[in-house]
Symmetry: D2
Subunit: 147 residues, 4 copies
């Protein structure tokens, strides 16, 4: 928040490189049409349009696909500093259904950064800004970097 | 558990009809190759083989896809009595990575059935029986039936 | 947010009456010295000072006591409109230890209000404003009112 | 499960020593009358009787106190091998109310043990064996031992 602009720019440049390296191998995100719209140190925004083949038996977007969008934003946010991290535990509260053709955005933000673990909040928004789901994830930093 | 066999058979017959009706419309499950291998009153088992296009940037099955498999088993289990239910809140703990080509099974069981809400546990197993993930879901019964 | 001031004032007056009625019977909150510092429609703030008899074997405030503070703020927030509600499911992420003598504040806010269910976020802060814990709760409205 | 009896006995003897060392300093458990009834490697059972001063404004045991009982069983189970561990994230689903005078039991079992993290399930039972709550916790091993 109060970082000097130069360091912030470096953080963003590094985050951009992480995004490119991760996304090139992220076949699941590509398969679902998930895009990483924004990324910076500790945060990321992903977008996805609900397709016909994402609907469940209730004719709304499968909760697992909504989760996957949120989890992807979480993954990019918690790897954004080029320290390899994996998800330990995630939870999601479903607030409203998402319908075919709707463009969803998942905004991930770091809430807590501890020694080797952290907590991120992700909110999934519908096209009108309504809350579709609230996601919270706990990550664990393993050794290694991404770029 | 102690139900007469005839009623149990009716429960299973009804659950089978719910499965067919739900699955015919469940385009997300179909798209991911998820199959509903077993279903009975309050329980369901789903299977899925990890495909190349389900991998993430760490070269393992995307956590969202593992969640989707578990969430699908949860959905079939909690609709199995032909009372329409939706997921309110779900959580998942990731225990071990799933790799391309592995066949996963998600076994869902009702733990608590209250007035209009319930709690289900789903365990996702790898091909060797190892635990891949632990999922827990809270559902809410809305009005309406499936068949 | 955009409610007319008069309605807001009514909402606060009602919330205050709910607080008094609930707190008079809330022996657990009283036993732990939890106070309901603020309440309005859909929100509440509770405070508590960590006592010697709240410490665990690691010499920090027992996680269950931190949870109880957060859960109390959640309970007052989700009953604040005088519609009786109970907790279905809650989760907590522990960010930093709380030490003896520290005054903690738990700030609860409604994030989602659905038909009969809702989602609330509660943040527990330490005396210096640091985040001690992040709590999220799902409630279910039962019939009846509090005052 | 299949460990030689001698090793099992050592594991239990160590767990007993951990229990004594932890409990002597566990003022919160003592204050609430929580007892550690059983302990072994990766598991623990705690008991507590619901007192008048544990009731909330709905005249049932405060959810935070039920959580504290479960969290205590979790803590003893995940420290039982004499490796110091702390809770990262916990969730609880409330199944049925607990009333004054009822004796509750919380049974904790390790579900997943990874590198430095693990997942435990705790079920809280009422006096008649009914399920009161389902708890799941993620722990993180820090350096140090307890005895």
């Amino acid at each position: 928040m109060n970082e000097p602009e130069s360091r912030n720019k470096n953080g963003e440049a590094l985050a951009q490189r992480v995004r490119e390296a991760m996304y090139a191998r992220d076949r699941a995100a590509q398969m679902l049409g998930i895009e990483v719209a924004e990324i910076a140190a500790g945060q990321a925004t992903c977008t996805m349009t609900v397709r016909e083949d994402m609907l469940n038996g209730h004719d709304i977007c499968h909760g697992g696909i909504v989760f996957t969008l949120a989890d992807t934003a979480f993954a990019y946010a918690c790897n954004s500093r080029n320290e390899r991290a994996v998800a330990l535990q995630c939870s999601i509260s479903f607030a409203a259904p998402a319908r075919v053709g709707e463009r969803l955005s998942a905004v991930a933000e770091e809430r807590v950064a501890g020694g080797r673990t952290g907590t991120y909040d992700v909110t999934v928004f519908g096209p009108d800004g309504a809350t579709i789901a609230l996601f919270r994830g706990t990550n664990y930093r393993v050794s290694g970097s991404l770029v």
